[in-house]
Symmetry: C2
Subunit: 94 residues, 2 copies
DNA sequence: ATAGTATGGTTTACGTTATAAACCAAATTA
DNA sequence: TAATTTGGTTTATAACGTAAACCATACTAT
């Protein structure tokens, strides 16, 4: 049985990646609402995904308010797809 | 997004459950080989699954050697299937 | 003006968890 | 009978997830 990428095998990080797989971009506030996570937890996990090169997080402004926009990278997309394939074995799917 | 049962969202415990979903029974040595885990780690995780009521672990003898035989319970089977359904959302499957 | 509150986060401290190392008893082999 | 193997359990540690505390700026009410 292959290893499950530990960076992705975490509920909140997986949720973030899952969302980013389906949208072009998502900001911090949206991710926080969708995942029902605390800001602190989300911040930490976004950092980890960013450091790994799985997502990008651009900090900008909309009017005078800060806004952090996240996007999945090609590397992140590949890692996610790979993770899904491995997980299918564990779940006895297809 | 629903919660991922934390008891199942662990590589080794998930591997054990996955195996036990497909066989009537499996002993400690077999699980250790299949999962490529250390005995200590496996022992701990089997305990947790047993305490949760997801598997049973019968300690017996074969000749003079001890042998721990594991089986999944109905509760464990249900929890696994439930976990798979929740996870499918995260993985964007079906 | 300024005190209070909301927004959009980051940093830090803590408890939990996974994991390996150390250990143990019994059986087998040299 | 000494050493090794087998089949595990217990314990110590490091990593991890999480929430609480915090910070800066913006907005609102007085």
């Amino acid at each position: 049985m292959k290893e499950l990428n530990p960076l992705l095998h975490s509920q909140l990080r997986l949720a973030v990646m899952s969302i980013l797989m389906n949208v072009e971009e998502a900001d911090f506030v949206y991710l926080k609402e969708k995942t029902e996570s605390t800001a602190g937890n989300l911040s930490v996990q976004i950092d980890k995904l960013t450091t790994a090169g799985y997502i990008t997080a651009e900090k900008g402004f909309v009017g005078k308010k800060t806004r952090t926009v996240c996007r999945i990278t090609e590397q992140g997309r590949a890692a996610f797809e790979q993770y899904v394939e491995v997980l299918k074995d564990y779940l006895n799917l297809q």
